[in-house]
Symmetry: C2
Amino acid sequence: MKNILIIDDHPEIRENIAEILQLAGYATSLAENGKKGLEIAMKEKPSLIICDIMMPELDGYGVLHLLRKNPETEYIPFIFLTAKTERIDFRKGMEMGADDFITKPFDDIELLNAIETRIKKFGILQDRYTPDESGANELMRDLCKGGMLNMDFSQQESEVISKKQFLYSENKRPKYLYYLKRGKIKIYKLNDDGKEYITHLATEGDFIGYLSLLDNKSYDDNAEVLEEAEVILISKDDFLTSVFNDLTIASKFIKLITQNVKDQEERLMNLAYSSLRKRIAKALVIIHAKLNVQKSGEHTIDISRDDIARYVGTATESLIRTLSDFKAEKLIEIKEGKIRILDVDKLNGLLN
Amino acid sequence: MKNILIIDDHPEIRENIAEILQLAGYATSLAENGKKGLEIAMKEKPSLIICDIMMPELDGYGVLHLLRKNPETEYIPFIFLTAKTERIDFRKGMEMGADDFITKPFDDIELLNAIETRIKKFGILQDRYTPDESGANELMRDLCKGGMLNMDFSQQESEVISKKQFLYSENKRPKYLYYLKRGKIKIYKLNDDGKEYITHLATEGDFIGYLSLLDNKSYDDNAEVLEEAEVILISKDDFLTSVFNDLTIASKFIKLITQNVKDQEERLMNLAYSSLRKRIAKALVIIHAKLNVQKSGEHTIDISRDDIARYVGTATESLIRTLSDFKAEKLIEIKEGKIRILDVDKLNGLLN
DNA sequence: CGATAGCTTGATTTCGTTCAAGAGAAGTGG
DNA sequence: CCACTTCTCTTGAACGAAATCAAGCTATCG
């Protein structure tokens, strides 16, 4: 059951709110001043905090400030309760990271609505996202489910794009965010000699093109369908307004894209100093994890040698030679051209 | 002169506001409904818009929505004017991207304050930031200047760190954001064999360590001083609250980090497919632009061969051989070991 | 003044690319 | 449906770019 902490120095108000919330099925904790409220918050980690601004000892701003400083209470939704309707108070509270404001007098519905919205939102956003590029995908999928991203999968029409067709190409202006319902798509850049370098591989459930949208520039890469794909188009505006108008979403995005940068630093170092053998081993594990297709019970990698090579950044022949080596060493198995990984740990732990 | 657009269907209020603003030295445009207001906004691109919510034809929400959809008017500060003090209205407005709310009746000071704050903030944030990693540095510097980041250069004590000392190292927990007042610092990762790959080079005016702070993980790289450095420490909390509690700052950050990702994709492709010659040429240009030291009127690169090699991702000997080639081709000049670039364009335009 | 770090060049080796060619699978069109 | 091209996968041989090993040279520092 959700526990809600109410901090207010007026006993009547405190009791009144507690009663409303209990009727609505919430558990409540009460505190008569900021200091006590803070203690309870630390100990009980409530699901939400309602707090008066004007209080003796430690005022509402102080409570909020201290909560936000502690990583354990940092993300607890916080609603200010205030008699004042003054702009300045309100501004200050928002800038400190309060999630909502309720002005006395308020009615029950208003209070409960505010609480419900916040708890729902928090529930979606507190989930841990895997710390790599796929995290952004998970986040967005959850946002859609929660109705936070302006998008409705069922209503939206989907488009089917066949193999070798382009979802988008270099120098075009991004107009949509793409959600890949089915199929596989490679995203690659071309160097001056026309060689491909695959920066991302997308499978069902992935979102494509958000970086260029956030960047608001023309595409600097190409998205080509590898395996017949069904794609949902989400309007650029819907996506951007969702991200840029909601602090919670924006914060999550910052963290996710930051992770992206870190991942790429890692990839850079590997490209710079790791042997081809090691790079190919890592790529196989990654591709396997990402595109593992369960066909007749077996996990195989179903992407052409050319594309694996372009993902690793090597020549196709070199890739194939290394694959042969791996096969001889019983790290992988090749059946009808399809690669099956036999020993993930050894592949990961390969020396240079 | 700053032009402010006032949209309100009550002539008295319109005139009243216009008068106040004119006295305060602003130019004003007036519109009596949402539709007209929108037209004027498109044509005149005002510095700020004040808009009533309740209006016939097209209400305030509609105006805001349409403005935010158009890239040309997207970032114009927008203040709602409303008689209602209702929470719901207010929420809706904020979520749509309004910058502030003023409730009638208001007094002159309040109005002018709100306007001034917004214009100042906008002025700082609308500047174009160079679309690479240094952009984040510029942004943060500006934020500090504008007092938006909780940090005061004069008050803060600075720390002097000498050559070969570490600012931070792998697996340590980040506690500060660092601002480099003077000196040079290299940030690098180590691969399994203990080889360095330099991911960033920082000079005076650069901020260091924000990625790990945003990420809230341990450092995965090392920062070593190349040339005696004076560093200002900014508390982790101050930095994080500034970023995560202000939607405008958060949005800017998203765009900047996105650019970071894009840059690294580019660097990845170069590492994968470009000849050493080309990669070294590019690195020289970048390092030159970043660390160009003007000593006795000449721009030279003042960083050891070892470090350049580790930035390119190659062996020191290979780097030196290429430098010799460049010297023979009169692309660069070497005086007392220091490299001076003679022909930037040719270095940039090198073929594979 | 010796020692150490940084820079440079030469010789050798290694890893990976490129060129070449064939075998099999998969489209394609008459 | 068959002959055709075309694509994908694979192996061999030769080449080449860059790493490594080695050694000398210069500048700097304690």
